[in-house]
């Protein structure tokens, strides 16, 4: 496949503090430095991409030596924490600002939706703004004219098209703006969290439109969002940024997981040699089939070893959420447990949590053990993330905050 975007050694430095905002002393200082033939202190450091100066100076490298390619037709989710450099990257790609070093090569036209409604003039009518906004995005007048009806009906604002946009509801405003951008014939579309606004119906339409865009017409999409669900449902590739550097570039599911692990540094899906008492250790405790996905089975292995016979009367798997709230338990007692633990030093449990009913998020496993040598609750033995199950329809999942505590596996028919 042909490459749509090639980014090479891309870096962007920002000056911390009061750069050129008009404090006289600082301006004079910089001016004086230049008069004496010295280099501007800002530019001097900016020219050498030296990481070691990072801590000492007031330069911050918002992007640091990025190298990546994007293939034509890919939908790439760019994820990372606040300040990871996502927006800076998009700003450079959409040519709003220039990089400090490095280069980006792009094939095709770029439409960027960094913030919807850019250039909308409140006094102008919807119609006038469609033309103006389209032109700002790089469309020719004839092109807008051709797509005008389509844009209006996509936005669902037929009735308001001759009303100044200052009287629009914020939802209408956003819909109109998105509609204009979505109809731009560009090979590359850059989207920055615009879907957060708009109602479910419109979100669905946008996803559908963007889906058409990336699959049907071979458009390339760069999508920034903090909503892992929308990233997973829209994108096939993922790029994880952390402190201005790429820490992962590849399949979107792995990217989301990398990001989550990065976010919750303590995430462990396998562990061993955890002493429970003087004589007993967890030799191995692990999740066997990663990633954990809602409504998929989750398999685990637990090996408990003791230096003596350790008759066990209770063994319970505890499942807690990230706030250490107990959500469920899995009772692991059966006659085999009593028999083996009474005759051998070591026993192994292989288990399966069927149709994992958890929402996407971070969870942990703990154990409750009542035995000859050990008794008590042991928390935080394993941490793992449950991922959103693959999207079946072109519908964006609702926000996690409104989806309750468990994910019910369900079917329905609409007649």
């Amino acid at each position: 496949m042909a490459k749509a975007i090639v980014v090479e050694k891309l870096s962007k430095a920002y000056q911390l503090g009061d750069f050129g905002t008009g404090t006289i002393s600082r301006d004079l200082e910089r001016f004086w430095a230049r008069v004496r033939g010295k280099e501007d202190p800002f530019l001097k450091i900016g020219e050498v991409n030296d990481r070691t100066t990072k801590g000492g100076s007031d330069i911050v490298w918002s992007l640091n030596d990025l190298n990546f390619d994007v293939e034509q037709g890919d939908a790439v989710g760019i994820i990372g924490r606040n300040g990871a450099g996502k927006s800076t990257l998009l700003k450079i790609l959409s040519r709003v600002t220039s990089p400090t070093t490095g280069s980006v090569k792009i094939k095709g036209r770029i439409a960027s939706l960094l913030e919807v409604g850019t250039g909308f003039h409140p006094e102008l009518t919807g119609k006038e703004n469609i033309y103006l906004n389209g032109a700002i995005l790089g469309m020719r007048k004839a092109e807008i004219k051709r797509k005008f009806d389509e844009i209006v009906s996509f936005a669902g604002v037929e009735r308001y098209v001759d009303t100044p946009v200052k009287r629009y509801s914020s939802g209408m405003y956003v819909r109109l703006a998105f509609a204009v951008a979505a109809h731009l014939e560009s090979e590359i579309l850059i989207v920055d969290e615009v879907l957060a606004v708009g109602d479910a119906e419109f979100q669905k339409k946008c996803i559908g439109k963007m889906g058409d865009v990336s699959r049907g017409e071979g458009r390339t999409i760069l999508f920034v969002s903090h909503n892992m669900d929308s990233v997973r449902s829209l994108c096939n590739k993922g790029l994880v940024l952390n402190n201005g550097e790429i820490i992962f570039n590849g399949d979107v599911n792995e990217a989301v997981q990398t990001y989550s692990i990065k976010r919750f540094k303590s995430s462990t899906t396998t562990t061993g040699n955890i002493p429970l008492s003087d004589s007993t250790v967890i030799q191995l405790f692990q999740i066997d089939n990663l990633p954990a996905v809602t409504h998929k089975d989750l398999e685990f292995t637990l090996i408990i070893k003791s230096s003596e016979i350790n008759t066990t009367s209770s063994l319970v798997l505890l499942i807690l959420d990230e706030y250490e709230q107990r959500l469920a338990v899995a009772d692991l007692r059966n006659s085999d447990l009593f028999r083996i633990s009474s005759t051998q030093n070591t026993y192994e449990v292989k288990g399966k949590l069927k149709h994992l009913p958890f929402l996407p998020g971070i969870y942990q496993f703990g154990l409750y053990i009542q035995s000859h040598a050990v008794s008590g609750n042991f928390y935080n033995l394993l941490q793992f993330e449950v991922l959103q199950k693959p999207r079946e329809e072109d519908i964006l999942p609702y926000d996690l905050s409104v989806r309750g505590k468990i994910e019910i596996d369900h079917t329905f028919v609409i007649k």
Binding site: Y14, R95, S98, S103, I106, K107, G119, E123, K141
Partner: protein, 287 residues
Amino acid sequence: MSRVPEEDWDITITPKSSLFDLRIKDTWHYRDLLLLLVRRDFVAFYKQTILGPIWFFLQPVITILIYNLVFNNLANIPTDSIPAPLFYLAGTIMWNYFSDCLTKTSTVFKDNAAMLGKVYFPRLIMPLSIVLSNLVRFAVQFTLFLILTFFYWTKGFSIAPNSAAFLFPVLILLIAALGLGLGMVISAVTTKYRDLAFVVTFGVPLLMYTTTVIYPLSEAVKKYPAYSWIIKYNPITPVIETLRYGFLGKGTFSWGLLGYSAGITTIILLLGIIIFNKVERTFVDTV
């Protein structure tokens, strides 16, 4: 991995570009935007006003009435035997066009930071749209000037238009280019140093007195022979003088001065475009 040859890329983003890479082709592609922005400015100007476009007339009319009262009647500054209102109007519309271009262009980054910070289009479009929007306004005011000239001519005043009037398009070009060029220089500098913005606010109205808006050049030369060069070599003076000479038949017209004015204007415009292009690439980070 196969490398795509360099020339296949549509866009290449690098930290620095050539000083003279003005992206003219890019700007041409966005010509529709230019026109739409002009339209926007024009429409937004009189939205929710009762008088609408009449405001374009009222402004210069009131100005020349005041000038007439203060400078002609009170201060007794002669107007080269041209009817005073006509004399002032010729100077005022030219000066207003220049000062509008200059002041609006000088704050173009600041005024449009929200828009320019979100989406790319050739930045040169913004100042160009300002110059064109003001040209619309100028055209309306110039019509007023023609009407007034005709009015005085029918009244029997000695008004003698001559072939210098054909220089009119050149004059417009010069005044627009000068306003645009100076404005762009200032806009580029003010993204970092706001101080100059304040200088513009009080400096531009004062600068008017160094051109021949309210007095004829001949009078200035007569009264202040030692200092009149400041007025004479103000690149706007030859433009106003030529306009008066061409349409009203009175004024100081010389090819030398006009040529000088054109030279200065070209230099300032080029300087403006170059500085502007240099700053527009990263102004988002500093504005």
